[in-house]
Every structure is written in structure tokens, then in C-alpha cells.
Amino acid sequence: MIHSLFLINSSGDIFLEKHWKSVVSRSVCDYFFEAQERATEAENVPPVIPTPHHYLLSVYRHKIFFVAVIQTEVPPLFVIEFLHRVVDTFQDYFGVCSEPVIKDNVVVVYEVLEEMLDNGFPLATESNILKELIKPPTILRTVVNRSTNVGDQLPTGQLSVVPWRRTGVKYTNNEAYFDVIEEIDAIIDKSGSTITAEIQGVIDACVKLTGMPDLTLSFMNPRLLDDVSFHPCVRFKRWESERILSFIPPDGNFRLLSYHVSAQNLVAIPVYVKHNISFRDSSSLGRFEITVGPKQTMGKTIEGVIVTSQMPKGVLNMSLTPSQGTHTFDPVTKMLSWDVGKINPQKLPSLKGTMSLQAGASKPDENPTINLHFKIQQLAISGLKVNRLDMYGEKYKPFKGIKYMTKAGKFQVRT
């Protein structure tokens, strides 16, 4: 399946190559560079590029292109999904996935890649198993630099019926934390009405429990969940019949569930943006004013508010005064960013001022779109509530915790 992998940085250097079958010359990447040149922007490079003898499938993350070389028909998503899994693994191992980090840890990277694929077919992609095979670098071992990356015992999880969990896990403090995180994707139109709004949620878990615990998690209102996808550990039949999540958890951090709350239910939009952005044809000054205020927040504070907007090319500079927070405008990329922080309902934050426009140029015909980021702690906007969590199979009493959070996903306001 996957023949070779090339890692290419933003300046077009191939800084790592790995082959699982016969060696493919790195000149095959020339086709990729051609496509990159044509696309002008990195994110417009097509993910599938045919060449006379090979096919190049690539993903772009952390400013690195991961280019897989394929020789025969294969479902493209298979390769793309795998490449993303590789990136996730690197991130898991090194904290960040960047060119210098990969270069520094080239041996670990190589060992991990060797384990992930055999003859181009995925072998071990569960991070739990990989970490047993190849230990992630720690500060101590980097300093000493003599000790080995390779685990001293061979992993057994791969052979068991629960391949995602390693055996013989021991903790002194047994704890299980679940984060219910919901993101609102919305498009709000000029007049403030919602064009489309959806809630996408995930439950991320951090489980540090001794032995082989068997957990069940139930919801107060499971009917809210319209479309769900599970970590492989979740027993599907149990969910179908009882709407209960029953699973033997992997050790450590993992994503238990991601779900979707259908667009049919009305989504509460927690913020509104009042805007007045106007360009005039004749003058070289434009007015800019936005105010952000809370709407349906269920009594919680909105924090971490960041407003970004890609201004039209004609805008040369902006002189703005925020009532709170800080703002920056990059005259090269034309990106306006305003870090608002918390919204105080008594005194709504606003950003006012003028834009200086290119003299003589006609006014842009579209007002910029405003992208909004925010966070609301202790609230799941869909109203989802975890009912209870039980553990079977082990004797001890674990500490359990649930946290709720609502965030803005792709939240856009058209002006």
C-alpha cells in the first residue's frame, strides 16, 4: 500500500524519507513541488496528485507536508487517515510536531514509523502499544543520551482482545477524568440571524486506573446525541440497546466519543456581534466598529474571546481603540486580531476606529467576515449531562471527575 513517506517543510526541503518497500527516488517529489507552485497557498495543494508511475497523497499539518507515495489503487482516505494518525502520534510523543523536533528525534521517529507500517500496511497505530514498543523521549534520557528508546519488554496488548490497553497498569492514585467539550459551528448573517448552526461535541478522557477496569458511563439525556462515533473500545451493542457507554478504557488520554447534535434542534448562540464596517468610494478612510455581547449564555461568563478578521486587500492600515483587550493588525497579511478576554455584560467590549484605504482604489465589494473564538467554562451548550460513571472489574475506588466546556468552532459572522 504505502510505499514511501517524505516529509517536506514549507521551504520545499525534504528533511526525512522512509521507505517500506523498494526505494523510491526522491525526485518523485518534483511533481509535488510543481503542484505546490500552482496552488500558491499551501492549503490549496490537492491531496491527491497523479504522476506517471506513482500517486502522491499528502496531508498538510504543522507547516509540514507528509507525502505518501502509492503505486496501486487504494482507498485515498485510508492513506490520508493513516498520515493523520502519524502526525497525531508524533504530537503525542514529542508534544509538538515540528521540523526541528522531528530532526532532533530522528531515530525515535524512524523506529516509530517502522512499527506503524509493515510492507505499507498499518501494523500498530494505537499509541498505547507504540509507547510500549518505543518509549517517548524524556528529559532525563535526552541528557544521558546513552540509554535506549526501545522498551525492554515486549508489548502484549497487541495480542489480546483489548489491543488498546496495556496489561499490568499500576497507579497509586486511581483517577478518571472526562471532559465534555462542545464546539459551535455557525454562520451568522449580516442582520444577526443564524444561517446555520450545529454543535459538535467530544468526550475526551484521561483515565489512570490500575488493572483492567470496565467502565460504564450513562447520560441524563442521551437522546440529544444525534450522530456518534466511538473509540473502538466502546461496546456498540450496549449503546444501541441501552444508550450506555460501556468500555474497557485505554490507559491515559484518549477520545472516547465524538458526537453531533442535529441542526434540527435550535442551537443557542451565546454571543452576538454588532458591527458597523463601512467603506466609502471617494475617501481613503473607512469606519470600523464592532461590539461583542453575550446572548444565551445560561448565566455563565464568556471568556477567551478572540475576534479575527481577514480585511480586504485595499486596507492599508487601521487605527483602532479597543475598550478592553489588545488588538493587532498585520498590514502584510491584512489580518486583524483582537484579543478581548472576558465579556463583562455591564460594559460590553467594543473596538472602534478608522481604516486607511489605498488611495484611488475602488472600495472592496465585500465586507470582511468576522471569525469568533470564545470559551464558556462549566457549560455544555447542548444541555448534555453525564448521569453517572460506574466501574466494575476492580476492587479499589477511583476518583472521578467531569468537566464541561463550550467553545466556538467555526463561528463566522458575515458583515
Binding site: F15, E43, P47, E73, I80, T125, N221, F230, D365, R388
Partner: protein, 1090 residues
């Protein structure tokens, strides 16, 4: 010099110096006396020395540096002899790194690579399964033809290994050996056949992969394993699932008859069929169809369904394509939700998924229509994603949603991304041709775009308008004139060419303009683009034929210019035209027909989706993405006319028993049972039973079918099957119980091997009884553990309660889930501290009864009617209109949102427009718009504001002020705008209505002509007057509408009941009787008038 550099390299010691050395050695001969090189050679020597040292740490260091070189693509083959010596190292990491090196360079250094083989052969016999596996892995990765026999032997042995992990690696090795030496195919197929029978989920994915690579045409190998693969599928690792599903799709297309045949007769009402309830459809199907789906076919479809929930996009896509290609058309709908979910994923995943949705949406609009809004474009999407989304939106456009879509397109046209804006214009063109209702709207919209500032937008519009006009040879003289004017300003060649062509085609419709255009073009001919020149020539020729009096000289002038053009195409064309149209003695017979040739009726271009022809590729494949056949693409065959013998899939237990050990028999039983029990569970859980019969009926039907198929096979097996199916439910229950307990007990969570052993030990007796014993004991232990936990809970009850109280008073955010009471004992709790489980119960109740009542819907219809707020005469040139957008107000939940459009009709600026002097009745509130600094002459601006009318039709008066003046204005809302539509079911509606009788009910009788009582007319009239939601009605003569008031949220239920003759009863139920009666008064005249 030499000494110097030596010192340097000693110091540096890092990887960089090594690299340099490498390059040097590969290009320059080692005898080069130049200091730097010799020292670097020394460096490589250094690596060699380190590899030969006694210390593992030195070796490891050297290996790490070598691996670093490989990763960077530097050549390290020279070190092969030194490295290969360490293959037998005791240190695992050194060993692993040597493996990495070996696999990379063995092909180049075949002879030396042989040195390592004996080490692997030894390791293949190791008692540790993981060592055996990894030895096999490396051995098979060394691409040296000489060792093919050794590899073959190793694979054969490993395929019979006790460890499933080793067998998995054997399956991988098959592919490697095949690519190294295809001659071994026959032998390898034997191994594949053996491994396909393997029951381990670990092996399944890998061996099917090997099957696909080596012998994808040997479909006969699958028959016996088909049911097993279907049943194992859910438990196979995700990558294996993808491969198996793709293989099974192909298998199903060759082995089963088409489930689509039934649809042939229903093709016409296919559309209804999507909208109608699936269940109903199913029923009608069953009555009609002589077709019965093969139970194995059904098994595959059913067992893949849970995988739509997978976190792996590739798995979801694989299931989606399986449903698309092999399931009955009525069942394909379930995949759309999962595919839409994938759109949340990364850019690359989106790209592939959108492509597939685009192909699907051409054939089956209905599937994705409910998700229309998920395809709306965000300004942050990459261009390629935007264009794919646009493609899908176009495919989904129909009469019902086109107006919403066009509004959305208007936003896109203004996008800063011009490539996308241009694509949007093409899309509008396609919508205009596909949906005749909007053609004129689109055309006028596109004409407006002609005055856009951006040239690309204008050019694209011209091209699209040209195509549209070509399709509609109606009177569009005005548009053509308008475009003729554009010729002066527009510079994009394609657009200019399009305009000229259009004028030429319609030259008889614009007799005055056409010659003038030709005159202008003749002037600028030499400076035009080639494309434009050709069209000028064409225009000249056409005019010459229709209006030679005015244009003869001009055309000849142009032809002369063309004759000496630099481009030979243009010279050719000139010569051709001249011969055709200018009569001379040499001209042949053709010139008589010149008019026919040039002014022939040209067929209109078809604006088609670029995804139209992709459906002949299997969805989800690389070939589909590229729209060309990729290397190794396997065609999906057409359904066979007659199904091949289904009995080939029956597994003869006896034959297997001979082949395997006695334990094999016991094991064999499991999948069969699983099949039944699974189906049973499935039947139970799926409430909308697909068989539309009673549950027991369907179960028995299932058994019958099974019985039929098994009768074909040997008698023994059929009796075996029967006995199984008789005890279906029992086995099913046991199985679930067993599974539960298995997952609980620590001792039970072992790998498969041990389980096998267990079943081996319990041979003797019949398999059934043994499994009964096992499961019963298991369930006992389960109940024990349950009671244990319960008692534990009871003892800790008090402690819990206190804790709980604290928890509840504390914030909900960090619930300590530890200490909740069991659901069964909420009664003992003191009332103030409601147990969360009770709350859950209450919430559950809530959800089932009235949750739907409060959910506000989007408006059914938004009337465009505007009301005058301030007339321009009384406002001294400032005019204001308002209208109700019927959207929830952004300023407050209780406010009605109002949009005000301000126009400046004077010839000077109006400055500082704002609102003052609000005079509001008690309780009313108003959220005003931000002051407008200035309004240009002829300018207009739309602002939004919100007013809380307190559910009354009282007037809100305020002053609209400018810098100099103040005008008293007021807004009195129509009662229908004080409502928000509500979605509810008929059942809920009736229930609510039942509670709002007596004083809360007002009614009246309406008399009108029968044509006013068609459903669409009534619906239109009601939603025009009031912002209400439509409640689906079961009866033809009753129409129901539901809404709630904006301020208080009280329900407002409207019923129109048609009686005999031309009368109808209009009933309104609401707590707010005043508004109710006002609404009644407003609705009555509207409904009764014609």
C-alpha cells in the same frame, strides 16, 4: 592544513561532519590526498570502529548516526559489512536499528545480506511469539531473490503457528514474497486459503489484504469464509475493516442478484419514495416484490452498519460505498448522516468525502437534501473545498430551496476569493438552466453583476449569460444591448469574444447596434486577442450575410486585416470566410449555402456537473478521486442475472472437523451461533423493524430462510442448523450475559489463545450443553458481583447522601460521580435533595412529552412586504422602510427583530441618523441601532433593531433624528409578527389543544370559493399573515399551524378545518385570548377572499 581539519572533525563529532564525509566518499575517490577528505574518510572509519568496539553504547551511537543518515536520504551502503555483523546483538535497540538498516540496503548488497539470514532462521524457532514474528517480518522484508525458498518455507510454517500474531505476520509476508517473485503465486494461494479459514480477528484483515494483492480474482476462496468474515468484521482492527469491506463489496456484486430490480417499476415515484416514510415503503415493497434478498446479502448489510460509527474516516467511507453499491436503494439513506459528520474533519478528508458526496448527489438528491446547510461555504475554507461544496449545492438545488440558495450565492459572489466568485457565477448559470422557475431571476441577477467592479466577475457573468441566452432564444434584446455597451470597458478576452458571438448570433434582433459594434471592433482589431479576432471575423461574416448594405466595406476591411495577421489560425479563418461569403468566380457550390452555414440554429450547451461521469468508478477509490483508472483498479462487476448457487457459502461442519482438531468443531459452532444471536439482537433493538412484521414473525421468517438454504447442503448440517435456530433466543441471551461477565472478570480478559485452550479442554459431550454450563456459571458470578456491589452501596448510603447534598449545592460542573444512589431507590431520599437519577427520570419525561413544543423552528416563509416608517416627503428626503425578517432577535429573546432600510433621496449628505425620544407603553422595550454617522446622497443602509412589544399590538413611537431634524415615527406590529414558529408533532398539537379549550378558544366560519381551499393556497395565506410553523397533519381536510408568542412564549395554535360546501372552520387556541382574537380577525378576510 591536514592537521587543522583533522582537529576540527575531531571536535565537531556531530552528524554534520559525517554527512560531509559521506558525500565525499561517494563522489571522490578515496585516494584523493586533499586533507579535508582524508580526514572525513577517517570519520567513516570512526563509525566502523565504533561498530566493531566491544561497548554497546558506542555501537548504539554509531547506529543512531547511521539511521540519521538514512533518514536524510544520504547513502550509507558502504558501512554494510560493519553493520551486518551486529545483527545478532543482544541489545534490542541495536538489533532494531540494524534491522532498519538491513531492510533499506539488503537489496543493494545481496551477497553480504545473506550473512544475516541464519540469525533470522534461528529466531524463527524462538519460543517467544513476538521474536518469531519480528524475525519473519525482517526476513521477508529483505528483497533478495536467492532466499525465496527460505521465505516460502518460513511463511508456511508461520501460517500454522499457534500465535495469531505470528500468523498475521505470515499474511503480510505473503504479499512481500509475491512482489519479489510472482512465480510463487500458486503456493502462496494455498497459504492464503489456509489463513482465510483462520478465526482470529488479528489475521482476518491482513490475509484479505494478501488475497487482494495476490489473487483478487479467486472469489471462490471466499465462499466458505464469507459468513465468518461478516461476523468478525466489527472486531477486526480498523485498517483491516477497510480492506475487508472493499473486498466484500466486490464479492456481493458477483454473488447476489440486484436488490434494485424492485425499484425499476417504481422509478417514476422515486422522489416520493425518499420523502415518504421508510417503513411504509418497505410494506409496499413486500407486497409487490417477487424478489427475496439472500440472507447472506442481508447479513453483510446488517453487520457493516455499526461501522458507520467508526472514528476512522476510511472505515466510514468504506461502509458508505458498500451501502451505495450493494444495498437496496431504500436503505442507502442512512449513510448520509455519517458522511456529513466526516466534513468536520481535516481538509484532506473533507476533500475526498465531498468528492464522493458530489457523485452521489447527482443521482440521489434526496439523500443529502436535509443536510443542505452543512455544505454552506465558510470564508476560511480552502478554495478547493469551497468549489466542491458549491458543486454539491448546485446538485441539491430544486424549486423548494433555490431561493435560499440564491440568497446564499449572493454572498459568495462578493467573496474576496475571486476564483470562487467566478465558480459561483457558473453555478448560478447552472441553477438557472436546471430550474426554469428561476431562470429570469438568475439572468437579471447576472446582468446586475455586469456592473461589478471586478473584471473576473464580469467576464464570468458574460460567459454564463451567453450560455443562458443561447438556451432561451427569447426576446432579450435589452440584455444584449447592455452587453454591447460593456465592450468599451471590459478587457478579458473570453468575455469580449462571448459578447461578439452573442451579437453575431442575434444580429437580426439588434439591427442598429450590430454594425456599430463591428465598426468599433474593426478599429481595434489589431490590438485584440486571437480569440477575439476570430469572433470579430465571425461577426463580420454574419453581418455581411444579413445586412450587406451597411457592412460590406467594413467586413472586407476586416478580412484584409486578418489576411496579414501573425497568427495562422486567423489567416486560415480569414481565407475560409472570404471564400464562403464573398461571391467570386472561383467560389464553389458552398457559398450558396453560406447563410445556412453561418446562421444555423446552434444547439444550446448543456451545463453539466463535472461529476456526472464519475459514477462508473467504485466510490471511495483512488480512481474515483482522479477520475481515471488507477493502476490495479478492480472493476465492480454488474449484478448477475441469476444468482450463483448460494449453498457454496454453507460451511460443512464435518469436513472441517476432519481437517481441524476436535477443538475445531467446538470452535466452529461459535460463529454460527453468533450469526443467529446477532440477528436476533438486531431484530430486537431496531424498533422500526425492516421486515415490517411482528417481531416473532420476522424471527421465524429468518429461521425459515436459513432452513431453506441449509437444506441444499448436506443433511447433517441442516439438522445442526435447525437445532441451533430453535434455541435462538436462549443462546442470544446467554451470549450477552457471557460477554458482560467476560468483560468484568479480570481472569476472563485473556487473549483468544487461552479461550481456545479452554474450549479444547471441555471437549466431550455436545457443544450446546457445554456452552450452557459455561454461560450459566458466568451469569451466576455476574449476579453475585452485582448483589455484592449493591450491598456495598447500601452500607454507604448515609455517607453518600450528605456528600450528595453538598455536590448538588456545589457547581454542577465537577460532579463527583462516585456516590450516586442506584436508580431503584429514589423513594427513600428526602425530597429537597432530588437524586440526580430522579432528575434524569424527570428530564426523560420532559423530553418525551413537551420538548418538541418549545423548540422554535425557522420561519416557513418570510414575506418581503415592507412598511413605510417615514415617507421621503415628510422626512425631507430621508425615507425609511421597515420589515420583519422573522428571525429570532439577536438583542434579546423577547424582542421582535425589525430591519429598517434608510434611503437618502436628497442630493446632500444626511449626517448622524439616530433614534431619540422613545415613547413606549408600559413594559415595552426597544433596542436601537447604532447611530449612523452619515448617509451619502442616493445611498441606502439597512440596520436592524429589536422591540419587545409585550405581546400586544400597541404602537411603539419614537423619533428618528438627523443632525438637523427630528421626525416622529411609529411602528405598529401586525399581530402575526409577534409570533415565532414552533415545530411540533400532530400528537403534541392535539394534546396542547386539548388543554386550551373553553375561554382560550376562538373560532369562526369562513365561506369562500373551493379553489381557495387547496392546501397550498391555505398554507400560503396563513404563513403570509402570521409567522407560524406548519404541523404535519394526518387528515386531508385539516390544516394545523403552531407558534408561540415572542414575549411570553405562550402557544398559539391555529386550525383550519374544511367542511362540506365552501365553508371552513377557523379555530385559534391560545392563552393570550386578545392576540388570538385579533389574529382571527386578520386571518378571516384573507382566507375568505379570492
Amino acid at each position: 592544513m591536514s592537521g587543522n581539519s583533522f582537529a576540527y572533525s575531531e571536535q565537531a563529532g556531530g552528524g554534520e561532519a559525517t554527512e560531509l564525509g559521506q558525500e565525499a566518499t561517494s563522489t571522490v575517490s578515496p585516494s584523493g590526498a586533499f586533507g579535508l577528505f582524508s580526514s572525513d574518510l577517517k570519520k567513516n572509519e570512526d563509525l566502523k570502529q565504533m561498530l566493531e568496539s566491544n561497548k554497546d553504547s558506542a555501537k548504539l551511537d554509531a547506529m543512531k548516526r547511521i539511521v540519521g543518515m538514512i533518514a536524510k536520504g544520504k547513502n550509507a551502503s558502504e558501512l554494510f559489512p560493519a553493520v551486518v555483523k551486529n545483527v545478532a546483538s543482544k541489545n534490542i535497540e541495536i538489533k532494531k536499528l540494524v534491522y532498519v538498516y538491513l531492510v533499506r540496503y539488503a537489496e543493494e548488497q545481496q551477497d553480504l545480506a545473506l550473512l544475516s539470514i541464519s540469525t533470522f532462521q534461528r529466531a524463527l524457532k524462538d519460543p517467544n511469539q513476538l521474536i518469531r514474528a519480528s524475525a519473519l517480518r525482517v526476513l521477508s522484508s529483505i528483497r533478495v531473490p536467492i532466499i525465496v525458498p527460505i521465505m516460502m518455507l518460513a511463511i508456511k510454517e508461520a501460517s500454522a503457528d499457534l500465535s495469531p500474531y505470528v500468523r498475521k505476520n505470515a499474511a503480510h509476508a505473503i504479499q512481500k514474497l509475491y512482489s519479489l517473485d510472482p512465480e510463487q503465486k500458486e503456493m502462496l494461494i494455498e497459504v492464503i486459503e489456509k489463513l482465510l479459514k483462520d478465526k482470529s480477528t488479528l489475521v482476518a484483515g491482513s490475509v484479505v489484504m494478501a488475497f487482494e494483492e495476490v489473487c483478487p480474482d479467486r472469489i471462490d476462496l471466499i465462499h466458505k469464509n464469507y459468513r465468518k468474515l461478516c461476523n468478525l468484521l466489527v472486531d477486526v482492527e480498523e485498517w483491516g475493516q477497510v480492506v475487508i469491506i472493499h473486498m466484500l463489496t466486490r464479492y456481493a456484486r458477483t454473488q447476489f442478484v440486484s436488490p434494485w430490480k424492485e425499484d425499476d417499476g417504481l422509478e417514476d415515484n422515486e422522489k416520493n419514495f425518499y420523502e415518504s416514510d421508510d417503513e411504509q415503503k418497505e410494506k409496499t415493497d413486500q407486497k409487490k416484490k417477487p424478489y427475496a434478498m439472500d440472507p447472506d446479502h442481508r447479513l453483510l448489510i446488517r453487520n457493516t452498519k455499526p461501522l458507520l460509527q467508526s472514528r476512522n474516516a476510511a472505515v466510514v467511507m468504506a461502509v458508505a460505498q458498500l451501502y451505495w453499491h450493494i444495498s437496496p436503494k431504500s436503505e442507502v439513506g442512512i449513510i448520509s448522516k455519517s458522511l456529513v459528520r466526516l466534513l468536520r474533519s481535516n481538509r484532506e478528508v473533507q476533500y475526498i468525502v465531498l468528492q464522493n458526496i458530489a457523485t452521489m448527489s447527482i443521482q440521489r438528491k434526496g439523500m443529502f437534501e436535509p443536510y443542505l446547510k452543512s455544505f454552506y461555504v465558510r470564508s476560511t475554507d480552502p478554495t478547493m473545498i469551497k468549489i466542491l461544496k458549491l458543486e454539491i449545492l448546485t446538485n441539491l438545488a430544486n424549486e423548494a430551496n433555490i431561493s435560499t440558495l440564491l440568497r446564499e450565492f449572493q454572498t459568495y459572489v462578493k467573496s474576496q476569493d475571486k476564483q470562487f466568485a467566478a465558480a459561483t457565477i457558473q453555478t448560478i448559470g447552472r441553477c438557472a438552466t436546471n430550474i426554469s422557475e428561476v431562470t429570469d431571476t438568475c439572468l437579471s441577477g447576472l446582468v446586475c453583476l455586469l456592473s461589478n467592479r471586478d473584471e473576473i466577475v464580469v467576464a464570468e457573468s458574460v460567459v454564463v449569460i451567453k450560455k443562458l441566452l443561447q438556451m432561451q432564444p427569447a426576446q432579450h434584446g435589452e440584455i444584449i444591448k447592455h452587453m454591447a455597451k460593456l465592450l468599451d470597458s471590459i478587457t478579458v478576452p473570453v468575455a469580449r469574444a462571448s459578447i461578439l458571438w452573442l451579437i453575431g448570433e442575434n444580429c437580426e434582433r439588434v439591427p442598429k447596434i450590430a454594425p456599430d459594434v463591428l465598426r468599433k471592433m474593426a478599429k481595434s482589431f489589431t490590438n485584440e486577442d486571437d480569440l477575439v479576432k476570430l469572433q470579430i471575423l465571425n461577426l463580420g461574416a454574419k453581418l455581411y450575410l444579413t445586412n450587406s448594405k451597411q457592412t460590406k466595406l467594413l467586413t472586407q476591411y476586416i478580412l484584409n486585416l486578418g489576411k496579414y495577421d501573425q497568427n495562422y489560425d486567423i489567416r486560415d479563418r480569414t481565407r475560409f470566410i472570404r471564400q464562403l461569403i464573398v461571391p467570386n468566380e472561383k467560389s464553389g457550390a458552398l457559398s450558396k449555402y453560406a447563410k445556412k452555414i453561418f446562421l444555423a440554429q446552434k444547439p444550446a450547451p448543456l451545463l453539466e456537473s463535472p461529476f456526472k461521469d464519475r459514477d462508473h468508478f467504485q466510490l471511495g477509490t483512488l480512481s474515483h478521486t482522479l477520475n481515471t483508472k488507477a493502476i490495479g483498479y478492480l472493476e465492480l462487476s454488474n449484478w448477475p442475472e441469476v444468482a450463483p448457487d448460494p449453498s457454496v457459502r454453507n460451511v460443512e461442519v464435518i469436513e472441517l472437523a476432519k481437517e481441524w482438531t476436535p477443538a475445531g468443531k467446538a470452535k466452529k459452532e461459535n460463529p454460527a451461533k453468533k450469526f443467529y444471536s446477532d440477528s436476533e439482537e438486531e431484530e430486537d433493538s431496531s424498533d422500526s423493524s425492516s421486515d415490517s412484521e411482528s417481531e416473532s414473525g420476522s424471527a421465524s421468517g429468518e429461521q425459515d430462510e436459513e432452513g431453506d438454504s441449509s437444506e441444499d447442503s448436506s443433511e447433517d448440517s441442516s439438522s445442526e442448523h435447525r437445532s441451533d435456530s430453535e434455541s435462538v433466543s436462549e443462546v442470544g441471551d446467554k451470549r450477552t450475559a457471557k460477554r458482560n461477565s467476560k468483560s468484568k472478570g479480570k481472569s476472563d480478559s485473556e487473549d483468544e489463545e487461552k479461550e481456545n485452550e479452554k474450549s479444547k479442554t471441555s471437549d466431550s459431550s455436545s457443544t450446546d450443553s457445554s456452552s450452557v454450563e459455561e454461560s450459566s456459571s458466568d451469569s451466576e458470578s455476574e449476579s453475585e458481583s452485582e448483589s455484592e456491589s449493591e450491598s456495598k452501596k447500601v452500607t454507604m448510603e448515609k455517607e453518600k447522601k450528605t456528600k450528595e447534598d453538598r455536590n448538588l449545592t456545589k457547581d454542577v460542573s465537577l460532579l463527583d460521580l462516585d456516590d450516586f444512589n442506584p436508580v431503584s431507590t429514589p423513594v427513600v431520599l428526602p425530597t429537597p435533595a432530588l437524586s440526580p437519577s430522579l432528575i434524569a427520570d424527570l428530564e426523560g419525561l420532559n423530553l418525551s412529552t413537551s420538548s418538541s413544543v418549545i423548540s422554535v423552528n425557522t420561519p416557513v416563509f418570510v414575506p418581503v412586504k415592507t412598511h413605510v416608517l417615514l415617507h421621503r416627503m415628510s422626512g425631507r428626503g430621508l425615507a425609511a422602510h421597515y420589515f420583519f425578517p422573522r428571525q429570532p432577535c439577536i438583542f434579546g429573546d423577547k424582542m421582535v427583530s425589525i430591519q429598517i432600510t434608510l434611503n437618502n433621496t436628497t442630493d446632500r449628505k444626511i449626517e448622524n441618523i439616530h433614534i431619540e425620544g422613545k415613547k413606549l407603553p408600559m413594559g415595552m422595550q426597544m433596542h436601537v441601532f447604532n447611530p449612523i454617522e452619515s448617509l451619502e446622497p442616493e445611498g441606502s443602509i439597512t440596520v436592524s433593531m429589536g422591540i419587545d412589544f409585550c405581546d400586544s399590538t400597541q404602537t411603539a413611537s419614537f423619533q428618528l433624528c438627523t443632525k438637523d431634524d427630528c421626525f416622529n415615527v411609529n411602528i405598529q406590529p401586525p399581530v402575526g409578527e409577534l409570533l415565532l414558529p414552533v415545530a411540533m408533532s400532530e400528537k403534541d398539537f392535539k394534546k396542547e389543544q386539548g388543554m386550551l379549550t373553553g375561554m382560550n378558544e376562538t373560532s369562526t366560519v369562513i365561506i369562500a370559493a373551493p379553489q381557495n381551499f387547496t392546501p397550498s393556497v391555505i398554507l400560503q395565506k396563513v404563513v403570509n399573515i402570521a409567522n407560524v410553523g406548519v404541523v404535519p397533519s394526518g387528515q386531508d381536510n385539516i390544516y394545523r399551524f403552531a407558534a408561540k408568542t415572542v414575549h411570553s412564549g405562550s402557544l398559539m395554535l391555529v386550525t383550519v378545518e374544511l367542511k362540506e360546501g365552501s365553508t371552513a372552520q377557523l379555530i385559534i387556541n391560545t392563552e393570550r385570548t386578545v392576540i388570538g382574537s385579533v389574529l382571527l380577525r386578520e386571518l378571516k378576510p384573507v382566507l375568505s377572499q379570492g
